[in-house]
C-alpha cells in the first residue's frame, strides 16, 4: 500500500461521526402507546385515565383476565367486556430495588418497592410508592393510585401504582 491509500502521511483523514447521545427512542419505552390507533386494549387505558382500573372478562366463559386481552385464553372467544377491578388490595409479596435500575424508567429512583398486590379477582405486579421495605409486611392493605406519564411521546399517558393505605400520603 502507498501513503496515499492509508492517509498515513501528512494528508488529512476524512472524519465520520456518530451522535454522542440520542433521546430515549420510543422503541426503548417501557410504556405502551395507549390510543385506539395503537392498541386494541385502548379501553383499558381510557378507563384508567378516567380513574378506574378495569380488565377484560369473557362474555362466553366468564373468565376474568389480567392483563386485558382481545382474545380469551380460556375459550378463544373474542367477545370480551371491560369490568371494574377493586382499587384496594393486600400486599402478597414485595422487595425493594436498591441498584440496577433499568434504563427508560427515570421516574424509578432507587430504592423503590415493587410488589405483588392481590386485588381479589386478580393478582398483579406494581410499584408501591411512599413506602420502604422495612415498613411493610405481607398482608398490608394498599390502595391504587394513577400516575401521568411524561415523555417520550406527546401522547397523554397514564399508569397505575399502589401506596400503603395508612401511608403518609393519605
Amino acid at each position: 500500500m502507498t501513503d496515499a491509500d492509508t492517509n498515513g502521511g501528512n494528508t488529512e483523514r476524512e472524519r465520520v461521526s456518530v451522535p454522542d447521545e440520542v433521546e430515549l427512542p420510543r422503541l426503548l419505552d417501557f410504556y405502551e402507546l395507549q390510543t385506539e390507533d395503537q392498541t386494541q386494549i385502548h379501553e383499558f387505558y381510557e378507563n384508567l385515565r378516567d380513574g378506574q382500573l378495569t380488565t377484560t372478562q369473557c362474555t362466553d366463559c366468564e373468565a376474568i383476565h389480567f392483563p386485558p386481552r382481545i382474545v380469551c385464553p380460556k375459550c378463544t372467544s373474542d367477545d370480551l367486556e371491560y369490568v371494574d377491578l377493586p382499587h384496594e388490595g393486600e400486599l402478597f409479596a414485595f422487595s425493594e430495588v436498591r441498584g440496577g435500575l433499568p434504563m427508560g424508567l427515570s421516574e424509578h429512583d432507587v430504592p423503590y418497592v415493587v410488589g405483588v398486590v392481590d386485588l381479589g379477582p386478580v393478582r398483579l405486579s406494581g410499584r408501591v410508592d411512599d413506602a420502604a421495605y422495612s415498613d411493610l409486611e405481607i398482608g398490608d392493605p394498599v390502595s391504587l393510585k394513577i400516575v401521568e406519564i411524561d415523555g417520550p411521546t406527546d401522547e397523554e399517558r397514564v399508569f397505575y401504582r399502589f401506596e400503603p393505605q395508612d401511608g403518609d400520603s393519605r
Binding site: F66, P67, S95, S125, R127
Partner: protein, 401 residues
C-alpha cells in the same frame, strides 16, 4: 409423552468453553473462543463434520447489536451446515433449548453430528448497565410487569420472601446455598468468581433486593461454551466415554405475567418437566439414582425450590435439604459442582451448555479433583426461564440404556 421406539440414541461426546466473566471481547470473539475450545476438546470432530448448528443466545440484538447469529457462527467457525441451523431463544434456558433441538434432530434421524454453542455478551461497560437491566426486565410482560421496574432480583426476592413465609425457610439456609456454589467455583478454571466464601459473607454483602443480598445473585457474565452431539453410530467412532441423553422434558404453563403465575414459592413446571424426563430415562427415585445435578441457581432461593420440584425432597423442605448437607459434593446428590450460576456466572445462552459439559466431564473424571464426584453414572441439568413459567430438564447417563 411417548418416545418413539425408533428414536436413536444421542451422545454428548465432549466440548469446551471460553473463559467466563467480564471479558475484553466481543460477541464474535467469544463465539470463536467457545467454538475453538470445543473442537480442540474433541479430536475426532472438526467443522467439516458438523451437519447441524444450534446457537443458544438471548439478546444479541440488544447486547451486541446483531441478529441472524447462527449463520454468523457458521462463518466464524467455517461450518457448512448441511441439515439444520437456528438460533434458539428461551431466555435463561436458551442453551438448554439448543441442546434439546439438537438432540431431537439426531434422535429423529435427520442428522448425525451437531454443534451446540451458547454465547452471551452482557458486560457493555458499567455505564451501560441500565441498558442491560432494561433488556433483562423484558422477559416478563413488558407492558404490565417490566414497566414496574421489575427486574430479576426483586422477582426472585418475592420467591425467597414467600418461601420463608410459607415454609419457614431461613436466611441462613439461603446463605448455605450461595456459599456452597461460590466455593465450588473456586475449583473451576473458567468461572467468573473463583473465591471460597463462608455463609456469613453472604449476609455481609450488600442488600440488592431484600431479602436477597449481592452474593445470593448470579453474575452479569460474558462467555461461550460448546458441546458436540452425535448419533450412537458416530459417537462410537470418536469416544468411549460419552454422556448419553436418556431423557429430556420441558413444561410451560399458559402464563408468563405476574397475574398468571399460580405460585410464588414453587414451580409446578419444574416438577412436570422433570417427571417427563425421569419417565423417559427410567428413573423412579431421583434422589437415589441421580449422582450429579446442575440446576438453575440464578438466585440462592431458586436452588432450594428446585430440590423440591425435582423430587429430591418434599415441598417446603428444600431449606432443610441444604442445611443437612445433602446437596454437597459428598452428599446424596452433588448439586452444582462447577459452581452453578452463582459461582460461574450466567452468560444466559451458554449456561445450559456449560451444565451439560460439566456432567460430561464429571462422567469422564475430567474435572479438578476437588470438585470431582465419586464415580457418577447419572446426571441432570435443569434450567428455568423468564418468570419461571418454563422449565427444562435433561437426564444424562454414562450408558445409552
Amino acid at each position: 409423552m411417548i418416545v418413539a421406539a425408533s428414536a436413536r440414541n444421542v451422545a454428548i461426546v465432549g466440548g469446551g468453553t471460553s473463559e467466563w466473566g467480564e471479558r475484553d471481547a466481543t460477541w464474535k470473539d467469544l463465539a470463536q473462543e467457545g467454538g475453538k475450545a470445543t473442537f480442540d476438546a474433541v479430536p475426532g470432530v472438526g467443522p467439516d463434520d458438523i451437519e447441524g448448528l444450534f446457537v443458544g443466545t438471548v439478546q444479541p440484538e440488544r447486547f451486541a447489536y446483531q441478529s441472524h447469529v447462527a449463520p454468523m457462527v457458521a462463518e466464524l467457525l467455517g461450518i457448512e451446515v448441511t441439515e439444520m441451523t437456528a438460533r434458539t431463544e428461551l431466555a435463561c434456558a436458551s442453551g438448554q433449548a439448543a441442546l434439546r433441538y439438537a438432540w431431537l434432530a439426531i434422535a429423529a434421524g435427520q442428522l448425525d453430528t451437531a454443534l451446540v454453542l451458547g454465547v452471551e455478551k452482557m458486560n457493555l461497560g458499567r455505564e451501560h448497565m441500565p441498558e442491560m437491566q432494561a433488556s433483562m426486565a423484558n422477559v416478563l410482560d413488558r407492558e404490565f410487569d417490566g414497566v414496574n421496574g421489575l427486574s430479576a432480583p426483586p422477582f426472585f426476592a418475592w420467591y425467597a420472601q414467600r418461601h420463608m413465609h410459607e415454609h419457614g425457610t431461613t436466611r441462613e439456609q439461603l446463605s448455605l446455598v450461595a456459599a456452597k456454589n461460590k466455593s465450588h467455583a473456586a475449583n473451576t478454571d473458567f468461572a467468573q468468581y473463583r473465591s471460597e466464601i463462608d455463609p456469613e459473607d453472604v449476609t455481609e454483602s450488600p442488600k440488592i433486593a431484600p431479602p436477597l443480598h449481592l452474593y445470593d445473585c448470579s453474575g452479569i457474565t460474558d462467555g461461550a461454551t460448546g458441546v458436540i452431539l452425535m448419533s450412537e453410530e458416530k459417537a462410537r467412532e470418536v469416544t468411549d466415554t460419552a454422556a448419553w441423553i436418556t431423557g429430556s422434558g420441558q413444561s410451560s404453563m399458559a402464563g408468563n405475567s405476574i397475574n398468571n403465575l399460580p405460585s410464588f414459592s414453587g414451580w409446578p413446571q419444574a416438577r412436570k418437566a422433570s417427571q417427563n424426563a425421569y419417565e423417559q430415562a427410567g428413573i423412579e427415585d431421583p434422589l437415589e439414582e441421580i449422582d450429579i445435578a446442575e440446576v438453575h441457581d440464578c438466585f440462592s432461593i431458586s436452588e432450594i425450590i428446585e430440590y423440591e420440584e425435582l423430587g429430591f425432597c418434599e415441598r417446603g423442605e428444600g431449606g432443610q435439604f441444604i442445611e443437612d448437607g445433602r446437596s454437597q459434593i459428598d452428599g446424596d446428590v452433588a448439586v452444582n459442582t462447577r459452581g452453578g450460576l452463582l459461582g460461574c456466572g450466567h452468560p444466559l445462552g451458554a449456561t445450559g451448555v456449560s451444565q451439560a459439559l460439566e456432567v460430561t466431564r464429571q462422567f469422564n473424571g475430567d474435572v479438578e479433583s476437588d470438585r470431582q464426584v465419586d464415580d457418577p453414572t447419572t446426571g441432570l441439568i435443569h434450567n428455568l426461564s423468564g418468570s419461571g413459567s418454563v422449565h427444562s430438564v435433561m437426564v444424562l447417563d454414562r450408558d445409552p440404556q
